[in-house]
Symmetry: C2
Subunit: 405 residues, 2 copies
Amino acid sequence: MVSTERLDRYARLALQVGINLAPGQDLLVDALVEHAPLARRVAHAAYAAGARYVDVLYHDRRLTRALVELGGDEALEWTPEWLVRRVEDADSHSSAMLSLHGDPEPDLMADLDGTRVAKARMPALRAATLRVIMGPRVNWCVIACPTEGWARAVFDEPDVEELWRAVESVVRLDEPDPIMAWREHLANLRKRAAALTERRFDAIRFRGPGTDLMIGLLPISTWLGGSDETASGRTYVPNLPTEEVFTTPDPRRTEGTVRSTRPLVVGAVTVRDLELRFHGGRVTEVRASSGEDVIRAMIGADGGAARLGEVALVDGTSRVGRLGITFRSTLLDENATCHIALGHGLAVGVQGGAGRDGDQLRELGVNISSVHTDFMVGGPEVEVDGLDQGGGAEPLLRDDEWQLR
Amino acid sequence: MVSTERLDRYARLALQVGINLAPGQDLLVDALVEHAPLARRVAHAAYAAGARYVDVLYHDRRLTRALVELGGDEALEWTPEWLVRRVEDADSHSSAMLSLHGDPEPDLMADLDGTRVAKARMPALRAATLRVIMGPRVNWCVIACPTEGWARAVFDEPDVEELWRAVESVVRLDEPDPIMAWREHLANLRKRAAALTERRFDAIRFRGPGTDLMIGLLPISTWLGGSDETASGRTYVPNLPTEEVFTTPDPRRTEGTVRSTRPLVVGAVTVRDLELRFHGGRVTEVRASSGEDVIRAMIGADGGAARLGEVALVDGTSRVGRLGITFRSTLLDENATCHIALGHGLAVGVQGGAGRDGDQLRELGVNISSVHTDFMVGGPEVEVDGLDQGGGAEPLLRDDEWQLR
């Protein structure tokens, strides 16, 4: 059993660096039942830090499995109204939101019909949550929560101690002064993002084994990294860890093929060896050695699910990448290497986008969807360039090393 | 670890005998995080029985403890709006509701300020839930869920197998045909209730060590037992187990003293040796060897919390009583012996009361409160009589044996 002291250190980091909780603020926590030991210490630490009320909601993937296995078609996509109300209230109260990730049973749905699995994702709740976290009224953060089950999925044995040490390393809890280490790291990411935004690249190009992909950017695409800010000026770090700089691309201008360089987990199904072909911004071909039907169903979810909403660059100094572990968790794995996301575009990734949603974002040229699924496309064998309007190329990543100064 | 087969048998009994789930109905389940293994099998069994959607909400008393320990005064009585919305939606959708009881840490709050513990009970949610379950649109049931922690609290060792066997015995799962056993038992309780209602007693009197209490009834007080019925005619059994016949008394006419014959748990504080004095229907004196402050705070919650809302009779054939175990859970212990409840009166316990709430119930003479706390007052040493208008007494219970035919 993990010690209370260990949980408390992590909880405090999440609240100080991730959430940056304000005294008197309400905190919403979303966790799996298996995450209860950490969720409880988060609540304790949050009250100690002056939270007004901590509202923890436990989700349970076993319940989703029962629904997919035995439920009627109509109920598969159902979202109880109160779940939507909960996040909308968080928005109107300017609450903080913390989400604990780390699936204790990533293969739980592997034997079920992938189309049904993909549907059982509460689209109304996901859409509401995306709206709220892109607010920009809510300071929010996603962290990982080690469990025995997750450790088994990563290491083939339930070595939760090893997983704890890995997570502590990627969130810099192994530093003598984690808060200071985060301050330096975030400044570095900000500098990288500023340099990219200043160049105003017209497109980003990925080239490597199975990959030759050109992702067009918008004239208003802005690069960001590390921290974000609410409308009221509260800085927060949406993901612990975070190693990426990212922007919102032009959903009409993706061309070519891309091969995923790491497995990803969608709705508790592991998707391996994913290959996509894009034309005119849309996915036109899908292949995968496992989980292909889940990706197909996800892409068919709505008009925007087959187009890109994010492109993100990560170099080889990434603490996640350097561990060489595939965590089977997007939160961690997306920070190992470069990645792109199908679905909803990040409002903050375009000038004037923060706080806009739906039609307003669409008018700015941002992709709109109920899904946002990251998958990893980078690595030492993948070259990344920034392309200017005239076709000139500037190297961004070579052999996993950052090139742009 | 308890077997899936064992959980499934219990889940099916709860759905068939307790809830009487209709195909296509939504089911709300309220459980503690520690109850997840049973809650999951309930969800599975409910979908298998044709439920449309199963909405499980996990509560966590450790979170309440953090709030009581560290939270601000204003937040103590706070109820997030979405929690109220959830039960109100269940009412308007005519859903079914199942609640899993059995506190894995009944002494969790023992070291905290009893006044604060009593406040941290979400009065708005409790009031909404009482309104909804007295609907009468919702078929609902409360069952017990054995856990290691609860077993430790009952037996002083974590013998969860022993607790499972006790629970299975009191819910008649040890019978060759539990469904048939329940049918007979419910018929017997109904017969008892009908005989009591027919007598139209003016009052019930309890006399025993430390107890001489007269509880006045209303002219419209109706005795019930076993099953209940929704407005649409769906029969259900609100408590598994159930051994009581009960009615709603006149909140203005309780006189005398009463000594509780078993400990009760309020807000995770164990109250022992409770003694109350009533005058004019109200509690005028409170004494207890532990938990006295929790009872005082509870009684002060609102105008109706110091008056009675229920009187219930249980004889020595009770399966709970015969086990001789104090479960430290009201659901079970109240079925061991006669009990009375401070707080909200049961709408179904008066003629024309079903489906009424608030002012309508008050006009009928029923007690209105945000609390409803049962405590045990019966046993072999306690004589119970029915009194008629003229002062004549008819024995109801002698030496724990039922007298009325």
